[in-house]
């Protein structure tokens, strides 16, 4: 069984799992962002405390000899994390462990200086004014804060990526089993729809919601199968118990007729009427049999053009009798899967109708052509057509369109064609040919 990724992606399981994955990723991101924000705030708070302590240590309230004190701090501080700059009132750098550039603002509020502007590392800077107009700059390397940010971001990307990957794998893995079961259920349903009422939906040992649905449908199909069996039994009984005595009656009438010296018109008429009843009976039973038939095994791929030529050959004398012409337009490369004998019967019925309802001297056109990925076999006449409102009704047994009510026939021909179309999985469509009717069988084309 081939399952396409598109099928997997469309499953509810996949979507739910994927949605859970996305929710989890968002939650992880929010958690990491919160952790980062709190950690960063704490680190900055601590850095600012360090900067204020350094400023206090340098005794900024006594500006005299500040340059000496700053030099002393620079020379005796080994950590390498703190930087000190003394700026004269005119902004000139008096002394410092880094080269200060730019305005010495804002005052008394620590701020960030990104890496590369003053030093290769990012800095937290506090500038305090001295009483004589000079300014003291105290800065601290905040690389640990940047490292923390980078490490949290990396953690987020890796963990988020891993979660997404795991969620996708889980979504696909979890979707495969239900999808496989859905495929099995769909295949079974298609077989049942095609008439195989012995088919049942698969039921697993998990007793899940699909099993509950399958068990319910199986019970329903079993009921339908039982009813169909009863109908079939009734049909067979009719075949035996009603057709046979009617046949015997016909034989008796025929014996009486043969025993007479000359033809009795009433007897001939009675035999004719009995024949019509028997023919109608036979057609009705045939439709029932076709409806109940599952004939996928006997279907073969073939080009319908030669079959259509044979149908034309069979019906040509009927058309000639009404001065009508029959034509065939067959597009090359049209192949359909079907039972040629049954389709011959179906197209023959359509052509018989077309000849019957076309005005004398007209023409009926048969065609076979591709319509997208399908193949259409059409029979077009120039008769009165079938009104839109009647097109569904005429496919039912004994239903005839208004234009056909006074024409000979049983009203079973199109039902028979519809039964053959249904058996093949084809669509029978009736369209307006303005004027006339286009009756067509739409079949899946060869892939």
């Amino acid at each position: 069984m081939i399952m396409r990724l598109r099928d997997v992606v469309h499953t509810t399981t996949f979507r739910l799992t994927a949605a859970l994955g996305v929710i989890f990723v968002v939650a992880v991101a929010a958690l990491l962002a919160l952790t980062f924000a709190l950690a960063q705030r704490e680190l900055i708070y601590r850095t600012d405390r360090v900067l204020q302590r350094e400023v206090a240590r340098l005794d900024v309230g006594a500006p005299r000899h500040m340059a000496d004190r700053v030099r002393d701090v620079i020379e005796h501080t080994a950590s390498g994390l703190n930087f000190y700059v003394l700026l004269a009132p005119d902004g000139r750098q008096v002394i410092g462990s880094l080269s200060w550039r730019g305005a010495a603002l804002p005052l008394d509020h620590a701020f960030d200086v990104p890496a590369g502007r003053l030093t290769a590392v990012p800095l937290r800077v506090l500038i305090v004014p001295l009483g004589d107009g000079a300014r003291l700059v105290v800065a601290r390397d905040v690389t640990p804060v940047a490292d923390l940010r980078a490490s949290i971001l990396a953690t987020f990307l890796w963990s988020g990526g891993a979660v997404i990957l795991l969620a996708a794998i889980a979504a696909v893995a979890l979707s495969l089993r239900p999808l496989r079961r859905i495929h099995q259920i769909r295949t079974s349903a298609q077989r049942i729809a095609a008439g195989d009422l012995a088919q049942r939906m698969p039921v697993s040992r998990w007793h899940d919601e699909l099993d509950v649905v399958s068990v319910t449908i199986n019970a329903m199909v079993a009921d339908v199968e039982r009813l169909m069996e009863q109908v079939k039994g009734t049909t067979d009984a009719i075949a035996h118990d009603l057709r046979t005595p009617l046949g015997h009656l016909r034989m008796r009438l025929r014996e009486v007729q043969q025993g007479q010296d000359r033809d009795d018109p009433l007897l001939t008429q009675a035999i004719g009427e009995l024949d019509a009843v028997l023919a109608r009976f036979a057609a009705l039973l045939r439709i029932s049999e076709l409806d109940a038939t599952v004939r996928r095994a006997g279907l073969v791929w073939f080009d319908p053009a030669p079959m259509l030529e044979a149908v034309i050959e069979l019906y040509a004398p009927l058309a000639e009798e009404r001065d009508m012409t029959l034509s065939l337009q067959a597009a090359p490369g049209c192949r359909i899967e079907g039972d040629a004998a049954l389709l011959f019967e179906a197209v023959g019925n359509l052509l018989d109708n077309a000849i019957k309802f076309s005005p004398p001297g007209g023409c009926v056109e048969l065609g076979v052509a591709r319509q997208g990925d399908r193949v259409a076999i059409t029979v077009r006449d120039h008769g009165p057509g079938i009104a839109m409102a009647e097109r569904e009704d005429v496919l039912r047994r004994f239903q005839r369109g208004a234009a056909a009510r006074h024409a000979p026939g049983s009203g079973l021909g199109l039902s028979l064609v519809a039964a053959i179309a249904h058996l093949h999985g084809f669509t029978l469509h009736l369209d307006d040919a303005t004027p006339g009717l286009i009756a067509g069988l739409l079949a899946p084309g060869e892939p």
Partner: protein, 225 residues
């Protein structure tokens, strides 16, 4: 005259089959169950067996299969109420030689018996078939009527040949449709009529009677003379 084993449990159907085949001068033996039929078929030598598909003790198909398995190759005409194409195919596949659906015309049944009896002879192919003023060259597919050539289409030739092979017998529309066109569905009333009509027009010759007769409600007959 041929020896025919008639296997039929329905007394009325049996009466018609036996009555009609007696009229044709055949020697008949009647069996009403599958077991009885099997015993007769094993013991005697029959030219043909007419076999009802639904017997009280056995399915007719099982009986045919049994006969064939025992190398009893007597031609079998299956007679059944089951008219579906699949049932026909199953009947022929099981070893039946022809399949006829009930209710049937006794004339058609007799006709089918004749066709099966003649099958072996037909296969020999005598090359020429003459019926009254009609002369058919079966090898070159040519026809003369009253000594005059008749131009026929291939299907018309097959139709005439089939009628000629069974000259003097009434042949039903359905049988013509099966044997000449090879289709097993009920043709519309007029379809075979128009083909016969067309053939009839081609065989019209001044001074000669029309050779093909319509037997109302039954079918057609090609007169022997």
């Amino acid at each position: 005259m041929a020896a025919v084993l008639v296997v039929e449990d329905d007394p009325q159907a049996a009466r018609y089959i036996l009555g009609r085949l007696t009229r044709d001068g055949h020697a008949l033996l009647h069996a009403t169950t599958g077991r009885e039929a099997l015993a007769h078929a094993r013991a005697g030598r029959f030219d043909i067996i007419t076999l009802d598909r639904m017997l009280p003790d056995m399915d007719g198909l099982a009986l045919v299969a049994r006969l064939r398995a025992e190398r009893i190759m007597t031609p079998v005409l299956l007679i059944s109420s089951l008219s579906d194409v699949d049932d026909r195919i199953a009947g022929l596949r099981a070893g039946g030689d022809d399949y006829m659906v009930k209710p049937f015309s006794p004339d058609e049944m007799a006709m089918r018996v004749e066709v099966l009896l003649r099958r072996g002879q037909d296969d020999a192919g005598e090359g020429r078939l003459t019926v009254g003023a009609l002369d058919l060259d079966l090898i070159n597919r040519k026809v003369w009527f009253g000594g005059e050539a008749v131009d026929l289409l291939p299907k018309e030739f097959r139709l005439l040949e089939f009628l000629a092979r069974h000259a003097g017998q009434v042949i039903g529309r359905r049988m013509i449709f099966e044997q000449v066109w090879g289709h097993f569905f009920e043709p519309s009333d007029n379809l075979i009529n128009v083909h016969i009509g067309k053939l009839r027009r081609k065989l019209e010759r001044p001074g000669l009677p029309a050779p093909i007769q319509t037997i109302k409600g039954e079918g057609y007959r090609l007169d022997r003379a």
